[in-house]
């Protein structure tokens, strides 16, 4: 019993879904999504019992690449996030019917497969391959099933693809270079490599480019808002909920431990970049007319804070970052789903064309409000746990970082509440707004339940991730 099982389930799931035909596709996909989630929970259980659930076998002799999946707390946490969210996202899409559904759902599962692989791979090249693979499905999902004018969409999506590919190819060079030094792509061997300061700097930069574009950090974020807006909501959820976490995860797993000198040397710069992203994203979000774009910029702000947390190179920073990743993953999926729910009824994403919904659908409004409050990290929601830890770590580096990063508390409240006010409150809207359906309700409640539960009792996750983070921290602090 090892983690490769999850990959198998998802991959087979993708195939079966494709063969199942348009009628059944969604159900089959959901089944496999749940299966994967269940499997990862079982594996988590095994892991906690101290079993070894990693998997490794030689793949290519020259260059020396092995199919190595290492499952530690961090990876498992991310895998759990991925699989659970995949199930939720699949379920959330039940409301609307897609043409050529079989390919659509197959792509979703395949993407989840690739992302899980990225989180598990402990061999540089394998990791890179999964990293690239995850790009293709989202490209097609956004391209074929996206919304808005085709030309616009094409521009946005192609830009996204080329942009991200550009970044990751430099990461590939870095990996090949490291391989020349280490004679293997295995992460342990890569950790062992001793690099001069300049080498570290360039490798660090190569990694950073890849991750900064993926996450995205300013000023590499220009693809984000458009793609989020143009992609179908499912795609947006996958992107914002899971995919951008790949970048953040990779910072912790690959970039920092491999190039610790550079990391500690230039950390202030990169913290500053992250925090600049917080402020910039929040301010841009203030005046967005399009709901999805506003959410996109808000997520730009949040990930900026998370990235800043990772670059503090402190345990708190890393832990807070991971917690915030998971929390943000859930909340942003929830928020984009609310956008979708509104769109299903009003066929608009322009905030100005909404409003006065609350009196028609109190249930939906309350759930929306909870999500909004979670996203501005009200205490007792999961996001607060993460954000507090991150801000704390920042304050330990320099109080001003905490103060500047903390502006997200204020600005976030500003634009989110403004958005909430103009989309939900006000005089009753003339257009009828059907209250949430069963499926929608279940989806939202599931997300909210997670947010509130871990908001009050994050201990399980903290205990899960902390040991592996400490390990990584030791790698970062090693003298070479």
């Amino acid at each position: 019993m090892n983690v490769s099982l999850i990959l198998i389930i998802l991959f087979v799931g993708a195939l079966v879904t494709f063969l199942a035909g348009d009628k059944l596709a969604s159900k089959v996909a959901l089944f496999f999504g749940l299966a994967a989630a269940g499997c990862s929970i079982v594996l988590l259980n095994h892991f906690n019992l101290g079993e070894n659930i990693s998997f490794i076998s030689q793949w290519i002799s020259k260059p020396n690449v092995s199919f190595a999946l290492k499952a530690d707390g961090l990876s498992l946490a991310m895998v759990l996030l991925t699989t659970v969210l995949t199930a939720i996202i699949t379920f959330s899409s039940f409301g609307n019917d897609y043409k050529n559904a079989k390919s659509f759902y197959a792509l979703i599962l395949f993407m989840s497969f690739a992302m899980v692989g990225t989180f598990l791979a402990s061999d540089g090249l394998l990791y890179y391959i999964f990293w690239e693979l995850s790009l293709i499905p989202i490209y097609f999902i956004a391209l074929v099933w996206g919304n808005g004018d085709v030309e616009e969409r094409r521009k946005a999506v192609v830009k996204f693809f080329i942009y991200t590919l550009a970044g990751s190819l430099f990461m590939l060079i870095a990996f090949v270079y490291l391989y020349q030094k280490a004679g293997s792509f295995l992460i342990e061997d890569l950790y062992k490599v001793t690099l001069s300061a300049t080498e570290q700097f360039w490798i660090f930069l190569a990694f950073f480019l890849a991750y900064a574009i993926k996450i995205p950090l300013i000023p590499f974020h220009t693809w984000q808002a458009n793609v989020y807006q143009k992609a179908p909501t499912v795609g947006t959820m996958l992107l914002s909920g899971i995919m951008l976490k790949m970048g953040l995860y990779s910072i912790i797993r690959w970039q920092l431990p491999i190039t610790p000198l550079a990391a500690s040397e230039y950390k202030y710069i990169f913290i500053a970049i992250g925090i600049a992203g917080v402020i910039y994203g929040s301010i841009v979000a203030l005046r967005q007319k399009d709901l999805k774009k506003l959410l996109a910029y808000s997520s730009l702000a949040h990930v900026g804070l998370i990235a800043a947390g990772t670059y503090t190179l402190t345990l708190d920073g890393l832990r807070g970052a991971v917690l915030q990743m998971i929390a943000h993953g859930f909340v942003v999926v929830g928020l984009f789903y609310t956008a979708e729910i509104i769109y299903r009824r009003y066929e608009t994403r322009v905030i100005a064309e909404m409003g006065g919904i609350r009196s028609q659908t109190p249930k939906f409004t309350s759930m929306f409000l909870i999500l909004v409050m979670a996203s501005i990290s009200l205490p007792a929601t999961f996001n607060f746990v993460g954000e507090f830890t991150v801000l704390y770590s920042l304050s330990q580096v320099n109080v001003w970082f905490a103060i500047l990063g903390g502006t997200t508390i204020i600005l976030g409240a500003y634009y989110m509440l403004r958005m909430f006010q103009h989309s939900m409150l006000g005089e009753t809207n003339s257009k009828v707004f059907a209250d949430v359906s069963m499926n929608e309700g279940i989806t939202l409640v599931a997300i909210i339940a997670v947010l509130l539960f871990f908001g009050m009792y994050p201990k399980p996750i903290i205990d899960l991730i902390t040991p592996s983070l400490e390990e990584i921290l030791n790698q970062i602090n090693r003298i070479n």
Partner: protein, 627 residues
């Protein structure tokens, strides 16, 4: 036992919230109201129990539930601390809370979303209790932000009116500014002492030998900013008057009696920290005094009955901060309590008036209600006397103590305080006279409906009025029960000799006279010459400035809100587009090169062969001739 009880104390209102939010509609308004009230009453009962326990055994009760947040070098656990201070707060929060719930049953009865209202009120009480009994700064912070959320919900309770929503949003955001300060303070304290637990912090701070004063003051100042946000002090006070958009019971409960006192609570909690940072204390004192004065001046000319009360609240809070700044925490607490009584009473009374007049809030359209609603009038009169510091009413004692302390430490502050209280007396009685005396100025239709409010409304008024009268007894000059009670929290009270000398009596006299002068002025202006405040347009001169609240809102709007929005627009329209066009630009350039390159591929064999030969010669010459 204690654990379960404390959980009951905490969760009873939450239960009420759940019931009302989920089943309230089907239960019907009255039932929903009763559930809401009962749950709070239960908490009140439990608080009484704890009160008895604590007075018997002076031991604070510590309760640890579970680990919450893990920080590298310390962990924050979810627990309660029930000591004298928190229990005192519990008593009047839940007590007044249940009264106001009772009041609301009747007051909100015509609102179709009454069950939601009660759900929110219960939620508020729940968070307020969390704030009060939290055993460390973070648990307190849960309540701290939670009450902010509830105040947001309740201010914007009539959400169809976007202005109300704006007010709600404003309140939330201004609180958030304070909250950031609070968080920063928490961070610094965590960094300095590796704990956020009150009791451990107390030991850590008072026990420590070499304290980094710089960071300590920074922490204290940051916490103070947090307090400013919650307790509506300069510069973060402007949200409170706007918050009057909410239903009157909300104003009474949240924006007069309980939530706004959270700042005072927190500072008193952290007194051991503030005692070590005199510079911050002086800042607090000055800010408090100025707030008291400024708010009072604005209060002088307001015509909206609730606005007057709102500004009076701000100014009273200012006085409390003055006391805090002077290190007289017990006095501040004392005034918090008395103020809770009479201000709640005033708000509820004004609510009853508004209720009777069918939503009319402008005092220019009131008057002569004395006969129509005697109980409301009587209770409000008592409360006004109390707040104006007329002897033997509760307000007299508490306010007098503040001024006394001020006088002993700093004459100018004392002066400001006294002027503020004179003004208080004036505008309170201006309110009374305009509302209840002379003849009615409203429409005939309103006049026809004039009636005393039902007993559910008057009952809480009476209770509060009684409390407002006798509330002073808990801390009489000379032998103060309150001070003894608080000694475990505020150790230096044990030593502080509380003697009454001639100066004290003189000061009292001055205060009393001041109060009476204020009342007299009001009487002269509004009864003798029975002048009615002018229409908005007609207001001129300095009173216009006052009437427009010194244009502070406009000022903030101009220097903060507008710039940020402009910046946002600039980023959105300029930076974003230019960034993305930069990326697209690269693509365009390569495309252009390609386009030019196509011309080279002219299709003529001659050219191709020529290129061939050139290349050949180039390579040969590079390899063999160059060497």
């Amino acid at each position: 036992m204690n654990t379960n009880l404390s959980l009951l104390l905490l969760l009873a209102p939450f239960l009420g919230f759940l019931i009302n939010i989920f089943f309230g509609k089907s239960l019907g308004k009255t039932v929903a109201g009763i559930i809401g009230t009962l749950t709070v009453a239960v908490s009140f009962a439990v608080s009484l129990y704890f009160f008895g326990q604590i007075t018997a055994s002076k031991e604070p009760i510590q309760i640890q539930l579970f680990d919450w947040i893990q920080i590298s070098n310390f962990k924050v656990d979810f627990g309660f601390l029930l000591d004298q201070l928190s229990i005192l707060w519990l008593l009047f929060v839940t007590g007044i809370g249940s009264l106001i719930h009772l009041y609301s049953i009747s007051y909100m009865h015509d609102d179709e979303k009454m069950h939601t209202f009660f759900a929110y009120l219960n939620l508020f009480v729940f968070f307020m209790i969390t704030l009060v009994i939290g055993s460390n700064l973070l648990v307190m912070f849960i309540g701290w932000e939670g009450v902010g959320l509830c105040s947001y919900l309740l201010i914007g309770f009539w959400y169809k009116n976007q202005e109300f929503n704006d007010a709600a949003k404003k309140a939330f955001i201004m609180n958030r500014i304070g909250d950031l300060g609070l968080l920063i303070g928490i961070f610094i304290l965590g960094m300095l002492f590796n704990t956020l637990d009150f009791s451990t912090l107390k030991i850590g701070i008072s026990g420590a030998t070499d304290l980094n004063m710089y960071w300590l003051s920074a922490a204290a100042f940051a916490l103070f900013i947090g307090a400013c946000g919650k307790s509506a002090q300069i510069p973060l006070y402007t949200w409170l008057p706007d918050a009057m958009a909410g239903p009157t019971p909300v104003s009474a409960l949240i924006h007069a009696a309980t939530m706004v006192t959270a700042g005072i609570f927190m500072i008193t909690r952290m007194n051991f920290l503030f005692d070590l940072t005199p510079d911050v204390q002086s800042i607090i004192a000055v800010v408090g005094a100025i707030t008291a004065l400024v708010a009072a001046t604005i209060g002088l000319v307001q015509n909206d009955i609730k606005k007057v009360l709102a500004y009076s609240t701000v100014s009273q809070l200012g006085l409390m901060f003055l006391a805090l700044g002077l290190g007289a925490y017990e006095v501040a607490v004392f005034h918090v309590i008395t103020h809770a009584f009479f201000k709640a009473c005033l708000f509820l009374g004004s609510g009853s008036v508004i209720h009777a007049l069918g939503g009319e809030q402008d005092m220019r359209n009131m008057g002569g209600l004395k006969k129509a609603m005697p109980i409301t009038f009587g209770t409000m009169l008592i409360a006004s006397l109390a707040i104006s510091g007329v002897p033997l009413f509760s307000g007299f004692f508490s306010k007098d103590e503040i001024l006394l302390v001020a006088f002993h430490s700093n004459i100018p502050l004392w002066l400001i305080g006294s002027i503020a209280s004179i003004m208080t007396a004036f505008y309170m009685f201006r309110l009374m006279f305009l509302t209840f005396f002379k003849e009615f100025r409203g429409t005939a239709e309103q006049k026809h409906h004039l009636h005393e409010s039902p007993s559910l409304i008057t009952l809480p008024l009476i209770v509060l009025a009684i409390l407002a009268t006798v509330g002073g007894l808990i801390s009489l000059p000379g032998n103060s029960w309150l001070n003894e009670y608080l000694t475990p929290i505020l150790p230096k009270l044990a030593t502080a000799a509380h003697h009454l000398g001639t100066t004290e009596y003189i000061l009292m006299a001055i205060a009393v006279v001041g109060g009476l002068i204020g009342i007299g002025l009001a009487y002269a202006k509004y009864i003798k010459q029975d002048s009615i405040p002018a229409e908005d347009a007609a207001i001129t001169g300095f009173s216009k400035v006052l009437y427009n609240k010194y244009y502070v809102d406009e000022f903030y709007d101009a220097i903060i809100v507008k710039p940020i929005n402009v910046l946002s627009g600039f980023f959105r329209d300029t930076i974003e587009t230019s960034l993305s066009s930069l990326v697209f630009g690269l693509g365009k350039v390569t495309n252009e090169i390609s386009f030019q390159g196509k011309k080279l591929q002219s299709g003529s064999i001659g050219l191709y062969l020529f290129a061939f030969v050139i290349g050949l010669c180039a390579i040969i010459s590079y390899l063999f001739l160059a060497q």
